[in-house]
Symmetry: C2
Subunit: 178 residues, 2 copies
């Protein structure tokens, strides 16, 4: 028992120091602060900046109070999710090239249970790859976005027919914000 508010385990404690350093004065982490911290962490395995688009998508995914920023709890969840994605990425990258190529992504989608046309996979690879290689940050953006769009589609596919009737506003609300 400790009388102090905000006391944590040792691991939480070091995470908390890290969080406060990243969050700055307002005590919340926005997309740009997250980008800086992930770039410095080296998690993407490259020297280039971690994708800001991916940061935005991840925050949108975990942002339960809809502020566009993350508190400590959300930050911890994000860190756990990213570690899981990193594990997943290394499994998918079977030839250990440091990136996911077309055939690896195609196989990954099948393993995750997606059934996509070859044209759909081609379009996705073209959009998220650089010279045919998909790096960690773009891989995460791609998978998170695919999942969010699929969830959005499935929630409207009441009869499970793989076919949905959207109004214009509903379509935009689901797609503009992912």
């Amino acid at each position: 028992y400790t009388p102090y508010p905000g006391s944590y385990s040792a691991a939480d404690d070091s995470m908390w120091s890290y969080f406060t350093a990243v969050a700055g004065q307002d005590g919340e982490v926005d997309a740009e602060e997250l980008q800086r911290c992930l770039t410095q962490s080296g998690i993407s395995g490259t020297y280039s900046p971690f994708s800001l688009e991916t940061c935005r998508i991840m925050i949108a995914m975990l942002d339960r109070d809809y502020t566009g920023k993350m508190g400590f709890k959300e930050f911890k969840d994000l860190w756990a999710a990213l570690s899981a994605w990193k594990q997943n990425f290394m499994t998918i990258d079977q030839d250990r090239s440091g990136s996911v190529e077309h055939h690896e992504l195609s196989q990954a989608f099948a393993t995750m249970g997606y059934r996509l046309n070859p044209q759909t996979v081609n379009a996705i690879v073209k959009r998220y790859s650089k010279n045919g290689r998909i790096f960690f940050d773009d891989y995460v953006a791609c998978c998170v976005k695919l999942r969010a769009l699929t969830d959005f589609f499935r929630r409207r596919d009441h009869l499970q027919q793989g076919c949905v009737n959207f109004t214009y506003d509903d379509f935009l609300q689901g797609t503009m914000t992912i």
Copy 2:
């Protein structure tokens, strides 16, 4: 008449030098090269890096040969399009705050001919603003994406009813790549 290949007017000539400097060895401009050049140009009116997401969206919009990169012709088109967006942004920013706020965006959409629910506008503002302000690069991303998604929707809305039936793959091909 000049015997040299690739001779241009003086304006084109200086644009060409600029293009080759930005494009580097491969003679084409990818999203990251574009981001560096737009950040340095100061077009967004802030010191922060120009949004990479916006660069990707703009390249996708102008990339007629589907390489994910831009040649000189596409680069010139992009430059012209960006100047037009900058003009448009300054018109929309009626209180000259340097950013577009909720009511300004709402009015801009109406002027452009979009008829959107207030909830749709709210969701869009939440996604593209920082502390309620939408800056130039995010404004461009938002408008280009809205136009692309609207065009995609409208092409399928054969009866002009504001309602479209999508298959899962068609839905993903339109939304994952914008």
